[in-house]
Amino acid sequence: GESVGLHLPTLSVQEGDNSIINCAYSNSASDYFIWYKQESGKGPQFIIDIRSNMDKRQGQRVTVLLNKTVKHLSLQIAATQPGDSAVYFCAENRNYGGGADGLTFGKGTHLIIQP
């Protein structure tokens, strides 16, 4: 089974409110995490990443929080806009061996912005 999962499949928020999307991971050895955004009909796009030596990282209107103690990751979106409507995936690094690495993805949360 997947080692990364999400608590809520759908999150509905009012335009202008802040959104918080949660993610749980099970591999305590993971040291890198990424959030992706997937709009309808498109491939996932990188939003923000964080390494395990950090507990918080901020981008433009987005903040990622990492709690290694409980193996929990969250994405906070400030002042959500209609363009934020999408499915959001968290991912953790996956070691293929031989020096190469990849990612394991969670199931995704569908963020719906209500006017």
Binding site: E2, Y32, I34, Y36, G41, K42, G43, P44, Q45, F46, D49, F89, N93, Y96, G97, G98, G99, A100, D101, G102, L103, T104, F105, G106, K107, G108, H110
Partner: protein
């Protein structure tokens, strides 16, 4: 090219037919990944290429699925004797695959419908 290109963007095929899906990664990206995304679901890992070799084929769901990569560039995912449960969006991603750089760039996917 500037991004990851996948073709065709849509494919409708009859049950039992074979299909080929193509991925053209970003120039210089040595790693290439195939994922499958069923409607409303997350990303299911299929196969990973490092150069022309596939160190991880663990995600291929059956022996009807195969993939190859030639010249360290273009990859083809082949599904033989398609079944209705093969209907999904097939996503390709590429990356530099340098340890410490896990960022994927995704293509827009091929939507496969088996009727």
């Amino acid at each position: 090219g500037a991004g990851v290109s996948q073709s065709p963007s849509n494919k409708v095929t009859e049950k039992g037919k074979d299909v080929e899906l193509r991925c053209d990664p970003i120039s210089g990206h040595t790693a290439l990944y195939w994922y499958r995304q069923s409607l409303g679901q997350g990303l299911e890992f299929l196969i990973y290429f490092q150069g022309n070799s596939a160190p991880d084929k663990s995600g291929l769901p059956s022996d009807r699925f195969s993939a190859e990569r030639t010249g360290g560039s273009v990859s083809t995912l082949t599904i033989q004797r398609t079944q209705q449960e093969d209907s999904a969006v097939y996503l390709c991603a590429s990356s530099l695959a340098v340890t410490g750089d896990y960022g994927y760039t995704f293509g827009s996917g091929t939507r496969l419908t088996v009727v």
